[in-house]
């Protein structure tokens, strides 16, 4: 998995440059993992066992209520970290599910290995802090979109961030992510195309 590790190295370096020894340790804790389409990797109620590095495919974290209604919270695609991060870091039961939406490949690591390295290398902990700050910024931006954008603006913004997503992911998940009705979603596609 040399290829996967060089992707991870670049991803980590962009968040916070690590000294050589820390980077070497950091790269040593990951194992390759593959999953097919629509495989449930984390089930709500369980503690997230892994942090993932997404090398290929699209996944989502979603909430499911007791009437089986779903809300898609976040999509992940390469190169990025994935999994239910709050549950992984706090080691508390996840409120969310994590599943693949297309065939996917990852690197993943356990919380034990991850925590050991955060304690060993201050630079790794700094990287995690900076990474999480970026996650917060992303979530705030998404909250603004959800609360103040029209459906069409949300749709356009999604397409701008990830132009190929219409050909990759079933539209119902995109509609769920944007918080709009599936019927309205097909109308939006026609409108925006013209």
């Amino acid at each position: 998995m040399k290829d996967g590790l060089s992707i991870l190295k670049e991803l980590a370096g962009k968040i916070h440059p690590l000294p050589e020894a820390a980077m070497e340790d950091f790269l040593s804790i990951w194992m390759p993992f593959q999953a097919g389409r629509k495989e449930l990797l984390t089930v709500s109620g369980n503690i997230e066992k892994y942090m993932y590095v997404v090398l290929d495919g699209v996944q989502r974290v979603y909430y499911q209520d007791d009437l089986d209604r779903e809300a898609t919270i976040v999509f992940t695609y390469p190169p990025s970290f994935g999994g239910v991060l709050d549950s992984f870091l706090l080691q508390t039961p996840s409120k969310y599910n994590f599943e693949t939406l297309t065939p996917s490949s990852f690197l993943r690591t356990s919380s034990a290995s991850f925590n050991t390295l955060m304690e060993k290398h201050h630079s790794i902990e700094t990287m995690v802090r900076k990474g999480l700050s970026g996650v917060i910024a992303g979530l705030e931006e998404r909250l603004v979109e959800i609360q103040s954008f029209s459906s069409e603006e949300k749709f356009r913004s999604l397409l701008k961030r990830s132009p190929h997503i219409l050909q990759l992911v079933p539209h119902k998940y995109l509609a769920s992510y944007l918080g709009i009705d599936a019927t309205n979603f097909s109308k939006l596609i026609n409108k925006v195309r013209i």
Binding site: K38, P103, L166, H171
Partner: protein, 193 residues
């Protein structure tokens, strides 16, 4: 009788279904209504009609398979294609059953379809089928019996049923592909107008 390793069979069925679902996500869900509803050049079914026909089968078979697999949970290593199962699969498989078939009355597509709803339901069902195939890897493919959609008096084992369904999907996905490929006069006229 043919003896097949369950694992090899399930790999084949999963790959084929993955291809079908990819086609629907990449192309069909992004096509405009007119193109999805356009009859094939030979006057045959449109893309939407092909998928709706498959949805009719899925609607019958998928919940039934789920229910049987929830009830009978023993695993099996190999699978034996039965004479009747092989006959049905051979007839359905577009590579071996070349003869044109007429759809049974209760499996004819509806005349007024919402094409995007049909595609969306097709994708939902294919995701469901992928999951069923994965569960079937841990079930006895010979022991579980599923009545066919036309009559409850004929039953196929789970392995035969899955092979039949995927062959049937392949048949109509090819038909849909042909219906979608043809750019005929009507389409050009729409663009001009």
């Amino acid at each position: 009788m043919t003896l097949i390793s369950s694992r090899a069979l399930m790999n084949y069925l999963e790959q084929t279904t993955e291809r079908h679902i990819q086609k629907a996500i990449e192309d069909y869900q992004n096509m405009d209504k007119a193109r999805l509803l356009k009859p094939a050049k030979n006057g045959g079914w449109s893309i939407a009609q092909c998928l709706d026909h498959l949805n009719g089968y899925g609607h019958y078979y998928y919940p039934l398979m789920q229910q049987k697999m929830d009830t009978y949970r023993e695993a099996g290593e190999t699978y034996t294609g039965t004479w009747l199962g092989n006959y049905f699969v051979k007839m359905m498989d577009p590579d071996t059953g070349k003869r044109k078939m007429k759809a049974f009355k209760n499996h004819l597509p509806a005349p007024d379809l919402d094409p995007h709803e049909v595609v969306s339901e097709f994708i939902r069902q294919q995701e469901q089928l992928l999951n069923l195939i994965r569960i079937a890897r841990h079930r006895d493919l010979n022991r579980i019996k599923i009545p066919i959609s036309l009559t409850k008096y004929i039953k196929l084992n789970l392995g035969d049923t899955l092979r039949f369904i995927v062959a049937h999907n392949e048949r109509h996905m090819r038909q849909a592909e042909l219906a979608g490929n043809v750019i005929n006069v009507i389409n050009v006229k729409n663009v001009v107008e």
